[in-house]
């Protein structure tokens, strides 16, 4: 009894405190200033429903400092509707959301770091489909819109396809990071084709230097950076439909075309002269420490292939955009496959529907909801309506352009494969491969694990 009394007293105090705070929310960027689409926000806010007293809860994988940036976005929604929105981040989000959804204490919206788990939960009936209008909107307003709709569409418990996921926060993986001043010191040029990239790699080796930093270490997820390499090479050596077939196992994992891609990754990663520390250290080096070699003195390496989030792991005194830059992981000039882009992203899905939740999902369609994030952190969006001027710096703007202008955009294949493969045998297989195991043997094992899951 006492506990309940204390709890309600505490709740009362909290509500009172929040009501007081709610009346004058401090915006990160004042409405009407800066390179933001305020008009569409003001229009929406004027007709937004009054949701006082209602609350929306969101859970996701973002922690410091991204969580605070995201809360800055939510402020604009709260100001327009008077609803209370809270975001809670977790480092073990994938486990927490399953426990909460199964037990019945799920948040209103869950932010999934990759589609595999969302598809799985949709199939168990733990997610609620988005309105059909949302799918049309994404197809129209996102760059390569149809592919984003497809990536968010999963079969429900009865096997019927429904749209569940709305992509928000996307990253580009086909990037090679380098230190422009080191390139200048050594007189290297940015390669524009895969042939040139291979030539540059060999030229650096011939000069007695080390071209690449590659690190696969990531605790329990060790091996995933190598899967990105293989996926990128697949997109550059095979047409997109082969890639799509590969992610669904219509093209077997031990198909000669896949083995060739793995072996091409081996051309970079399995040669002591081409990798900092030698091929033996690739699997043991943490992916967070690996890019630091670009900035050491003398430089341990000249290039590092990694997704758009990696500047978070550059040393503190490196100024992003000035001391570090990237170029597009180039495609073969000799093969007519366009400029494929590999990417990943987080998607939002409704785990507990309510009026305020639907209103919030509508709010996320506004350019402002994307621009506020773009202006604060390494957030990329395929939203065509978002003003590129809002990006934090030129480097991000260049990445955003790659994304919006992609001729072929493909999602990270390992995230689309079943968890046992894409977050299991593919990872460990790549560790074995860099350790010296034969590519065909590795591919056979991964295919066997996939067969076992069917």
């Amino acid at each position: 009894m006492t506990t309940r009394f204390l709890a309600s007293a505490a709740a009362l105090a909290l509500t009172a405190g929040m009501a007081a705070a709610g009346s004058h929310i401090e915006f990160k960027f004042p409405v009407g200033e800066g390179p933001f689409n305020w008009d569409s926000y003001n229009d929406w806010a004027a007709s937004a429903p009054d949701l006082s007293g209602q609350s929306v809860t969101i859970s996701g994988p973002w922690l410091q400092p991204e969580d605070d940036y995201f809360r800055d976005v939510l402020d604009y929604f709260m100001a327009a509707t008077n609803a209370e929105v809270t975001y809670v981040g977790s480092d073990s989000f994938e486990q927490n959301i399953v426990v909460d959804a199964e037990a019945g204490s799920a948040p209103n919206i869950a932010v999934f770091p990759q589609p595999g788990l969302a598809a799985d939960m949709a199939g168990r009936g733990l997610l609620n489909p988005l309105p059909a209008s949302m799918g049309d909107w994404v197809a129209e307003n996102y760059g390569a819109g149809e592919s984003w709709v497809d990536l968010g569409t999963y079969p429900d418990e009865n096997g019927a396809d429904q749209l569940y996921g709305f992509f928000y926060n996307v990253n580009v993986k086909s990037l090679v990071w380098y230190n422009p001043e080191n390139f200048e010191d050594a007189g290297y040029d940015i390669p524009t084709s895969m042939e040139e990239l291979r030539e540059l790699t060999e030229a650096i080796v011939a000069e007695g230097e080390t071209p690449w930093c590659i690190g696969l270490g990531s605790g329990a997820a060790t091996g995933w950076p190598a899967t990105d390499w293989v996926e990128d090479i697949m997109l550059r050596t095979q047409p997109p439909d082969v890639y799509d077939g590969w992610t669904t196992n219509e093209v077997a994992f031990n198909d000669p075309r896949v083995i060739a891609a793995i072996e091409e990754f081996g051309w970079f990663a399995r040669d002591d002269a081409k990798v900092a520390g030698g091929a033996g250290t690739v699997a043991a080096t943490d992916f967070r420490d690996s890019p630091k070699g670009l900035f050491s003195s003398p430089p341990q390496c000249y290039m590092h292939r990694q997704a758009s989030f990696v500047p978070a792991f550059f040393p503190d005194d490196v100024e992003f955009g000035l001391d570090a830059d990237f170029f597009y992981f180039p495609a073969y000039a000799s093969k007519d496959l366009g400029s494929p882009v590999l990417g990943g992203g987080t998607l939002m899905a409704i785990t507990d529907p309510s009026d305020a939740t639907s209103a919030l999902m509508e709010f996320f369609q506004l350019p402002v909801a994307h621009e506020i994030m773009m202006a604060q952190t390494g957030f990329l969006t395929p939203h065509k309506g978002a003003n590129p001027e809002a990006y934090l710096n030129d480097t991000l703007r260049k990445q955003g352009e790659i994304l919006v202008n992609a001729t072929t955009f493909r999602f990270d294949g390992s995230d689309l494969m079943p968890g046992g493969v894409g977050a299991g045998s593919f990872w460990t297989g790549m560790v074995d491969f860099t350790g010296g195991k034969d590519a065909a043997a590795v591919a056979d094992e991964i295919q066997a694990s996939w067969d076992a899951l069917k």
């Binding site: 922690l63 809270t86 003195s297």
Partner: protein, 468 residues
Amino acid sequence: MADIADRGAFATAAGQIRRGIFGSKTEAGAAGGKATLTWAVHLSVALLVFLWLFPTVGLFVSSFRTADQIASTGWWKALFPAEQNLTIRAAAPETQIEQDGMFVIEGNLFEDGAEAEISVWGISSRAIGAFEPGQTAELRRGGTITVQADGAYRMENADAFEGSRGQRVFVTATTPPEFTLGNYDTVLGKDVARNLIIYAVAALIFFFVLRFIFRTNESPIAGVIPGAGGLVLFVALALVFGLSSGAVEGAQTTDDMAGAFFSTLTVTIPSTIIPIVIAAFAAYALAWMDFPGRALLIAAVVALLVVPLQLALIPLLKLHLGIGIGKGYLGVWLAHTGFGLPLAIYLLRNYMVGLPRDIIECAKVDGATDFQIFVRIILPLSFPALASFAIFQFLWTWNDLLVAKVFLIDATGETTVMTNAIVELLGTRGGNWEILATAAFVSIAVPLLVFFAMQKYLVRGLLAGSVK
């Protein structure tokens, strides 16, 4: 189950060490043949202590280093001056001044007060040791730069320097050890660690002064005065001058951390007391009261020890939501109680069953009820066992993240615990070793206090039941 297994393993290991020391004490005086055994025991104890201390000292040293330092050199090198290859930028072109028709940028590569000595330097990443201190290098974009051994440099050019970033200078220099409280500022709030150290030193001095003043006074109150005085001064300083002088960007504030600290206490203290109270009653019944099925009940409790608590997460949470407890303190207390009870009952029952039968039978003959025997005889005699289990349960609930995440932390974000606050600090992709090392020492502080305050009971309690 891992947690229970860990606790068991820890208990056994500690017991062995303890028995080892006891053994050496009794055997030292015995025949000379046993001297080698004594040495073996001493050496293995020393080895175990070293194995435990080595990584702990490493973490402690790392908690005073920046992320870049941790990434570049090992902590064992942090204690001595080391020769390092550094990349330092000269001042940006916008700071140039015009002297006698020349554009000049002057300054020192090292921050104020740093006593580093440059052995060689260079201006290209390809030749980082091309020049001796005092030599002059031609810059690729025109002009010259001269660097002295102490880091002073002078750039000259007939035309103005251009660009937004300063010239890169690669130096090989011997730098003194460098430590920072910055990590503690990130975890606890700005200047909290510094202020705590100052207050603690002041309180300690006050303590010794009081002890000196009262050294001849033999009244019992005089014995308490120095300790109480020091504590009062510490609290008073913290209240008057405050702990924090602001927030560090990108980190939680002191209020957040303090909130998480008290929230953890709110979880931990009831979660320690409730299972002990229940387990003490149950243990007495299982040890000294005759009723049918007693042996089966004991067997069931032992069997429950091996059930992994992860198995119960979803069903238990469903139950909590179903009966209206929801996610909150009450739920997390109940969960911790349930998960802690098998070990508590098992431990206490084994201790109580070893108490002398004569005392209990005498009491029964004198007409004491079971409740009276329990309260007047068993409880006081079982104090070591109760205390040792209290320490276990306290440490385990203090360090817990999983149970708190499932039963306490809901999507409204209004409740948290210290372990969760620390995980949030570690960032979306983790890998912040400096924060991890610092947070480890912040969160270990209270368990250490508890452990040292109650360790003599821990030893007695662990031995309980093992020797009759």
